[in-house]
C-alpha cells in the first residue's frame, strides 16, 4: 500500500495519533517528549503513537501528508492539529482539552 494511504488509515482508524521520535516511554527528542507530556497531562490514555525513527518511509511520508516539515505531529480524528509548539499553545489556552473532549477521547 502507498505510504500516504498507510498514514491515512492510521489517522482515521485511531482517535489520537502522535507521530514522534521514540516512544511515549522513551522519547528520543525533546519536542516529542513535550508532546507526550501534554497528552498525559490531559489524561489521554488511548494514544496511538508511531515511532518515525523505525520507519523511514513514514518519517518522510508524514511530512508530505500534512504538508508540515517537522515531527512530532498530532492528529485527532484524522485531522492534523499541529506540532509541539502548537500543542503547547493549545494546551495552555485550553483549546486542546476542548478539542479532545469534542472528539470524545479518553
Amino acid at each position: 500500500m502507498d505510504i500516504q494511504n498507510v498514514i491515512r488509515e492510521q489517522v482515521t482508524n485511531n482517535s489520537v495519533v502522535l507521530y514522534m521520535k521514540g516512544t511515549p516511554q522513551f522519547p528520543m527528542c525533546g519536542f516529542s517528549a513535550t508532546a507526550v507530556q501534554i497528552l498525559k497531562n490531559l489524561g489521554v490514555t488511548d494514544l496511538f503513537s508511531v515511532n518515525v525513527l523505525e520507519n523511514e518511509d513514514i518519517r518522510n511520508g508524514i511530512k508530505e501528508y500534512a504538508n508540515w516539515p517537522t515531527i512530532p505531529q498530532l492528529y485527532i480524528k484524522g485531522e492534523f492539529v499541529g506540532g509541539c509548539d502548537i500543542m503547547r499553545e493549545m494546551y495552555e489556552n485550553g483549546e486542546l482539552k476542548t478539542m479532545l473532549g469534542e472528539a470524545g477521547v479518553k
Binding site: 521514540g22 516529542s32 513535550t34 492539529v81 509548539d85
Partner: protein, 96 residues
C-alpha cells in the same frame, strides 16, 4: 551566511516587525534525532501577516518562506508567531 541570517533573510517577505532567533543547537548536540546535522533554533516573530490566521496557518507561512532550509540547515525550529497586537498584550508565556 549563518543560518540565523538566512532565516531572517527569507522571512523578510512576511514583513516582520521583529524576529528574535536563538540557537539551541548546543543543547541537542549528539542526540539521536539530530544525526542529520541540522541546527535547533527557537524563534519569536511578530508580523501583521499573521492577522486573522490560526497558529497552524502562521507556522505554514513561515515554513513556506523558509523552503528547503527546513530540510537542510534547520533540524528543528520552535516558533512563536504573533501579531503586533498580541505581542503587546501577551508578553510572557507559562512554561510547561
Amino acid at each position: 551566511m549563518t543560518v540565523i541570517d538566512e532565516i531572517r533573510d527569507r522571512l523578510a517577505v512576511l514583513n516582520p516587525l521583529s524576529i528574535e532567533i536563538e540557537d539551541d543547537s548546543a543543547l541537542h548536540a549528539g542526540h539521536a534525532g539530530a544525526k542529520g546535522g541540522g541546527g535547533h533554533y527557537r524563534m519569536t516573530m511578530v508580523s501583521d501577516a499573521f492577522i486573522g490566521k490560526n497558529t497552524v496557518a502562521r507556522h505554514r507561512l513561515i515554513y513556506g518562506a523558509l523552503g528547503e532550509l527546513m530540510r537542510t540547515r534547520i533540524h528543528a525550529l520552535a516558533i512563536r508567531a504573533l501579531t503586533a497586537e498580541e505581542a503587546n498584550t501577551q508578553p510572557t508565556r507559562k512554561e510547561l
